[in-house]
């Protein structure tokens, strides 16, 4: 992957100059990121006609879901961007993603974390286990919702739509209702996880449903509406478009 391709994809050149396989998955990723509720079986048919296999599409969906979560955490919590990005890239090369999981894992390989695997079995179960994990994380916001329902809902919708707008005032409001910083972290995390879950479900809905009618018929059952977070709220009117 040369720098030219990076520049093209990130918008300096018309996308048509990029490899058609890549171009197709980038278009799909864009739609899934911005308007997950509009993704249908037609979109996955376009991908397949561009020569993408089901595992290739599946991986694309998981990348979108993974980064929908972490970008929301980064924006909502205001992660400082390092001056020199190459240090982070270098660490990633040396330790891998797994190396960032805990202080110990920078030095040892932690047996508690899934090992990288190229075998098909793991890759088939990966979306399911990711979905189950995300579902469990969306439940973490319960404590904050119980303590301060209105303020918690406001933070959740901000994290879903415009995470960099989460501000100290929101945090203070929750604290005045007795929320601890840990509870607030969990609330933000649960909202970010539900944004990720929505995209994962929308992507696999499109991939696995043979026709648009069937997808609509199943959509109601597929998207969980847990008591305190309506995961589909706020994703239809993304303000950044």
């Amino acid at each position: 992957m040369g720098k030219a391709v990076v520049a093209k994809v990130l918008g300096e050149h018309p996308r048509s100059e990029v490899d058609p396989r890549q171009s197709a998955i980038f278009d799909f990723a864009e739609k899934l990121t911005l308007f997950p509720e509009t993704v249908t079986a037609d979109d996955s048919a376009v991908l397949q006609s561009a020569g993408l296999s089901e595992p290739a599409i599946s991986e694309g969906i998981m990348v979108v879901a993974l980064f929908s979560l972490i970008t929301r955490m980064a924006d909502a919590l205001r992660f400082q961007t390092p001056n020199d990005l190459s240090t982070g890239a270098d660490l990633l090369r040396r330790f891998g993603y797994r190396g960032m999981a805990g202080p110990w894992s920078l030095f040892t390989s932690d047996p508690g974390i899934a090992k990288t695997s190229d075998d098909g079995e793991t890759n088939r179960t990966l979306p399911d286990s990711m979905m189950r994990w995300l579902e469990s994380v969306t439940l973490l916001g319960a404590a904050a919702h119980t303590a301060a329902t209105v303020a918690a809902r406001s933070i959740v919708s901000t994290v879903l739509c415009n995470p960099s707008d989460v501000c100290e005032v929101d945090v203070e409001e929750l604290k005045s209702h007795g929320c601890t910083e840990e509870t607030i972290f969990d609330l933000i995390l649960s909202a970010a996880a539900s944004a990720s879950l929505v995209r994962l479900k929308a992507g696999y809905g499109a991939l696995h449903q043979p026709s648009e009618q069937m997808m609509i018929a199943n959509a109601g059952a597929e998207i969980p509406r847990s008591g305190f977070i309506n995961v589909s709220s706020g994703i239809g009117n993304h303000p950044r478009v």
Partner: protein
């Protein structure tokens, strides 16, 4: 400035490792590490496990292609991180 004081929620060992790390490499992405370590069991470990498996393990796209796709998703999310 981070929105929440994540340092306060980290154990002594984690803080010591971060401190040593900062001396060695001042430009490392500390905030993301703090967030992972703050909620290690429910967030850091599973997230990094999935990230490793998805970004490195699955074979249909090259590592470079997936990094590029992830950078693209971040840019649509207007996130520089």
């Amino acid at each position: 400035m981070l929105l929440l004081n994540l340092d306060a929620g980290l154990g002594k060992f984690s803080r010591a490792v971060l401190h040593g790390f900062r001396l060695l490499s001042p430009d490392a992405p500390f905030d993301i590490l703090k967030a992972f370590w703050y909620r290690g069991t429910i967030f850091g470990k599973p997230f990094c496990g999935f990230a490793e498996a998805i970004m490195r393990g699955t074979p249909s796209w090259s590592r470079g292609e997936k990094e590029l796709l992830s950078a693209f998703v971040s840019s649509i999310n207007r996130c520089v991180y």
